[in-house]
Homo-oligomer: 342 residues x 2
DNA sequence: TTGTATGCGTTATCAT
DNA sequence: ATGATAACGCATACAA
């Protein structure tokens, strides 16, 4: 492609490349006389000049690109997060490279390698599992890195998250306040901060209220509708009294569970109440509309992008921005109600 | 960041940079003796060498990055498309830069500029509106470009789409076969291929069956749940007989419409049947589960990525790959049923 | 205010 | 099979 170089612009304007470079640079254009500046600008315009950011990056050591790594692009809760990231980065003229690991550590390894080879200025990831801590730590040593949504305790990597533990507590207290005394939780895939923290928060609040709490653990990797189905069936297949209040670790699991329960003759919320997590789009239109915990995805994305930007600029006051934790919010809809027997 | 350069690896291995370059290059490593190759490889490993793709790109004229431009990251139908793109590109070692226009032409202009400055090897976009034809045509002249999902007739840009017109026909014939004789369609934002084609297909099939068809046009830019609400209310506020079979141009509109209808005392499907479009995740879990037309998002994304890759490689037999059109599929669920009066 | 010269890290061409 | 060298397009330290 005969793309126009700075050299050609300079020649057309009758100046040296260095002068042309200065004239076109936003902050250094003051070092150039107004007359020559407009001459260069006109020449650039006329020739259709477009700066080669690759070359510029090579010279300046900055690419204007940050890598974004998510676990699952088809998880609807990720949409708002990506938006928040894209918007905040866009405002600074930075472009995001988006990648997906499907929660596979091998994938993550390869992706990190690729991003580092691309010399991205920074990395934002929501895909870290505990087992990836060392890997991500190494990445963070090479390039400004920010965790979003999922924390990685002990990694020392700055993180923008929200309080999953408090979210679990909200779910438990809501069910208890509705009169449920037999609780259960459908736990998301292991090795992930979000689910462990939610489980812990839920259990603590249940214990505090003296309510028995059954844990049903997932053996699957991704927290999907199908996983919710399996978890609900595992719950029903257990011997003993059936809980009436169930906390699903995300909305997909909740949806799958409600569907599976219905197939076994249990209606939600008449027979069993279900609380979800994330408040993904459309949860208010489900059958029934889902009571859930809102995860502030857009905000998380936006803040993560701003944090990584400030790290890149070196303006991050290291100590003060290590960890930002937003608050979850209980959204009450129709999937929870007082238990029948009361 | 003291990142290791090829130079240092060469020095450590006691060879020239050019030899080191050959040794590390996949296809040219045969030009190097096995002995020195392993010496170089070891040195690289030991020093933690990582090729600088920026520099490599500058020299070779290829970045290994393609730009992806979508209209709306929060539209759930885009998830599968992005996945298809990311997976197909990933298999070829190419990374996607993802951007969002919110269906604004200004945004699109800026984004194209940015991507071209980044010297992406190719561009895939689902965000083209008719008014953007000239802009995208110019882009396509600079870099291999592929349209996905939305066509841009007369632009001459290769496109991977599916048959929206046939999809509209499927919707109409389904409603008619259920016994509906009074039809209406809630039309998506103007200036966009998908919606115009769906409208046309629906109208044609209605006409062919002699069924009157009311068109309700959106005045909004994005086809959201809220837009669906407004469209449904506009429909009800019209004088004259109310249609019993409604085609919403996407699932979000359908959901908003059903919700608005319910607020006005009309139940779906008892009082009014609604067909959506896209078959986005969770439509089967809605109240009621949505009858809809499936748009093969993953396939579209995958094919678009493969097409742009072959264009980049220059292996695209120009004439044969201009336009690929997949087939839509009717998914019958519970939001449609025969009208009451029958 | 402008020009000169150099280097960012690679790869390709040409020798050897 | 390997080395020397130039060039990709740009930005900056330095000189004028």
């Amino acid at each position: 492609m005969g793309s126009v170089t700075l050299r050609e612009v300079a020649d057309a304007a009758g100046v040296d490349v260095s002068t042309a470079s200065r004239a076109l640079s936003a902050d250094k254009s003051s070092l150039v006389s107004t007359a020559t500046r407009i001459r260069v600008l006109e020449a650039a315009e006329r020739l259709g000049y477009r700066a080669n950011l690759q070359a510029s990056a090579l010279r300046r050591g900055r690419t204007g690109v940050v890598g974004v790594i998510v676990a699952d692009l088809s998880n609807p809760f990720i949409g708002p997060v990506l938006r928040g990231i894209a918007n905040a980065l866009g405002a600074r003229g930075v472009l995001p490279i988006m990648t997906e690991t499907r929660d596979s550590s091998d994938e993550l390894t390869q992706i990190c390698d690729k991003l580092l080879s691309q010399r991205v200025d920074g990395i934002i990831t929501t895909a870290g599992r505990y087992r990836d801590r060392a890997l991500l730590r190494r990445v963070a040593d090479e390039v400004p890195t920010v965790l979003a949504v999922r924390e990685l305790p002990g990694s020392g990597i700055p993180v923008i998250s929200h309080d999953d533990r408090a979210g679990g507590g909200l779910a438990a207290r809501h069910l208890i306040s509705q009169g449920h005394s037999d609780l259960a939780q459908l736990i998301g895939p292991g090795d992930v901060w979000s689910f462990e923290a939610r489980a812990k928060g839920f259990r603590e609040a249940a214990d505090a209220a003296g309510a028995p709490c059954l844990d049903v653990q997932a053996s699957v990797r991704l927290p999907t509708v199908e996983a919710g189905r399996q978890l609900a069936e595992a719950l029903l297949d257990r011997p003993g009294p059936k809980p009436t209040g169930v906390f699903a670790h995300n909305d997909s699991i909740a949806i799958g569970a409600i569907s599976a329960l219905r197939e076994r003759g249990l209606e939600c919320p008449a027979d069993i109440s279900v609380v979800g997590y994330n408040d993904v789009p459309l949860t208010d239109q489900l059958r029934p509309p889902l009571t859930t915990i809102r995860l502030p995805g857009y905000e998380l994305g936006r803040l993560a992008a701003e944090l990584v930007s400030s790290r890149i600029d070196g303006t991050g006051t290291e100590a003060t921005t290590e960890r930002v934790v937003l608050e979850p919010e209980l959204i009450v809809r129709d999937s929870t109600s007082p238990p029948k027997s009361i």
